[in-house]
């Protein structure tokens, strides 16, 4: 008896619209969730059995094709990426073709995000090659990759960071070019922001201070010194923090540290003590603390100015019985005694240093 409020035609239109919307949503989610698997040079042949084998001839054919058309399709870029993964010969063959990398750069700077991602992933695999290839990538595409680090698309940023890391680990000259493009402040900004790229940005900075330390400018160092307080020790990639700070000589005579920066360093150091971590992280943490104490301002060392806290921390670290660490701990102790905060005998009597 009760009449249906909606006529059947309207119902079906509504249903089809909802279905269409759900389908679009699924497709959108699938595009966004598309992840990438990282793999080493030549490893792909062992790992993926059903892989299309691409040799130098194929690479030359693909390069000729993209050069002729002045554009590379997503499929071309994917096939080139696969070819680069399969061997250094393919990489060298592509890099030797004049104008081939420029086509990749053109796609990298085009208006479509997906094509940009495909291009940068292609460049990432190309960066597995030797130093001369890395140098070419840095000079032709480095400025764009560094620019994209400020962009919104996370996958693009991540792929750029991977490519930049490969370049930094390969070639000193390419590293210098990238540093001139202000790579350090851009990476530091990504490292400080909780945006999902901290780990990759941290690796990039780690490689900068390991391989290109002499190219890092005074401006870059002072930028890091000023913005150090933003770093959270709980975030991923924090294991590189003390190493970066120490190698860049941030806690030294050249930079004046404020209370907030010193507090950040102390916070990191306390975090290192409270959680089990690698010796690498502890050693550089102690070195940074030794330098912080060497500044000679008891206000900067916060809780460590209290002898009880300092003795507890030292005893905990001496208990690790690491000979390399013990030398740095002695330096820390010497600098601390130099501050003349308390009676040195009282401090020494409470120390437990293993013979």
């Amino acid at each position: 008896m009760a009449s249906n409020p909606n006529p059947p035609l309207e119902n079906s239109v509504l249903r089809s619209k909802i279905r269409e919307y759900a389908r679009d949503q699924r497709l959108e989610c699938r595009i966004k969730a598309k992840d990438s698997l990282r793999i080493g040079l030549g490893q792909v042949k062992k790992e993926v059995a059903a892989l299309e084998s691409l040799d130098t001839k194929d690479v030359l054919g693909l390069a000729g094709r993209i050069k002729r058309r002045k554009h590379a399709t997503s499929e071309d870029l994917c096939r080139l990426s696969l070819a680069f993964l399969q061997g250094n010969d393919n990489i060298n063959a592509f890099a030797a073709i004049p104008g081939a990398i420029q086509v990749l750069v053109k796609e990298l700077t085009g208006p479509h995000i997906q094509r940009q991602i495909d291009a940068v992933e292609c460049l990432c695999n190309l960066s597995l090659g030797d130093a001369h290839v890395s140098e070419k990538i840095a000079s032709l595409a480095g400025s764009y990759m560094v620019t994209y680090l400020d962009g919104k698309e996370e996958r693009l940023k991540r792929s750029c960071l991977w490519t930049l890391s490969n370049i930094l680990a390969t070639c000193d000259k390419a590293g210098r070019i990238l540093l001139q493009m202000q790579l350090v402040p851009k990476c530091w900004r990504l490292y400080s922001d909780p945006n999902g790229c901290q780990e990759d940005a941290g690796i990039c900075l780690f490689l900068v201070v390991t391989h290109c330390l002499h190219h890092v400018s005074a401006e870059d160092r002072s930028y890091i010194a000023k913005t150090m307080h933003d770093i959270n020790p709980q975030e991923s990639g924090s294991e590189y923090f003390m190493y970066i700070i120490h190698q860049l000589d941030i806690v030294g005579q050249d930079h004046e540290l404020g209370a907030s920066q010193a507090e950040c360093l102390l916070h990191f150091f306390e975090n290192t003590l409270s959680s089990p971590v690698e010796s690498f992280n502890i050693i550089y943490g102690v070195r940074v603390m030794a330098n912080l104490v060497a500044i000679g301002n008891p206000k900067l060392i916060g809780g460590l100015a209290d002898p009880q806290n300092f003795i507890k921390a030292l005893n905990q670290l001496f208990a690790l019985r690491d000979s390399q660490l013990n030398m740095d701990l002695m330096r820390l102790l010497r600098n601390y005694l130099h501050l003349n905060i308390l009676d040195s005998n009282l401090l020494l009597d409470n120390l437990q240093i293993y013979a």
Binding site: R38, S81, H112, S139
Partner: protein, 221 residues
């Protein structure tokens, strides 16, 4: 017994003092290469799967368009899409801000910011900025997001205008009309006005107009 055992395990105060006297005081300098073993870094590529996303191509293209818009910074005025907020800021200021244009014309202080946000240097002209980016930051000469690219064209415009003004002053004999190509629309017979003919009889513009009208009327009839 316990305290004795402990004292044999730990260093005595005198022993510590002796070690401390041998330890230098002050800053620990960064070591190059780093002394403790560093976490290893292995160069890795990306394994990309072709045809990862299966679905309607049109829909995928539509979603891709939406994504392009979402993930870029676009100018509300001219819809130009730029990859970073800084580049968009530069674009809006340099292309659409009249106050900025007036300040540039006045030329009393450098107005053009570097393409890199972290670099605080400012320049009088886009050309100076471009040179700075090429020399200092190693940018390519054809940097894609260069905002000052259109400036030389704008500079050329006034020149053309001045030329055209001069042309107006020149006696009408020198005037030359471009040759208008005849449109055939697929028909072989050309029905058009042969403008070169008109050049011969100059100074009789009113008569020419009249003759043109007559010709049009003939065609229409």
């Amino acid at each position: 017994m316990d305290s004795e055992a402990l004292s044999s395990v730990f260093l005595s105060r005198e022993q510590i003092i002796r070690i401390l006297s041998e330890t230098p005081v002050g800053f620990i300098k960064p070591t190059n290469p780093a002394t403790p073993s560093l976490p290893p870094f292995k160069k890795l590529g990306v394994l990309v799967e072709i045809d990862e996303i299966v679905g309607d191509q049109e829909k995928a293209a539509k979603i891709s368009d939406i994504r392009d818009k979402e993930q870029s910074y676009s100018c509300a005025e001219c819809r130009r899409m730029l990859p970073t907020a800084h580049l968009l800021d530069l674009h809006i200021t340099e292309q659409h801000d009249l106050y900025f244009a007036a300040s540039v014309d006045r030329g009393d202080k450098p107005m053009f910011c570097c393409f890199l946000e972290e670099c605080t240097t400012k320049f009088q002209t886009p050309r100076q900025r471009k040179d700075h980016c090429i020399i200092v930051h190693k940018f390519p000469a054809n940097y894609r997001f260069d905002q000052g690219k259109d400036k030389p064209k704008e500079k050329r415009h006034p020149k053309n205008k001045s030329i055209s003004m001069e042309v107006d002053e020149v006696p009408s004999e020198v005037k030359c009309f471009p040759y208008i190509k005849a449109f055939s629309f697929g028909h072989q017979t050309h029905r058009t006005f042969y403008t070169r003919k008109d050049q011969k009889s100059q100074g009789e513009t009113l008569d020419d107009v009249q003759s043109l009208k007559d010709a049009i009327n003939d065609i229409l009839d």
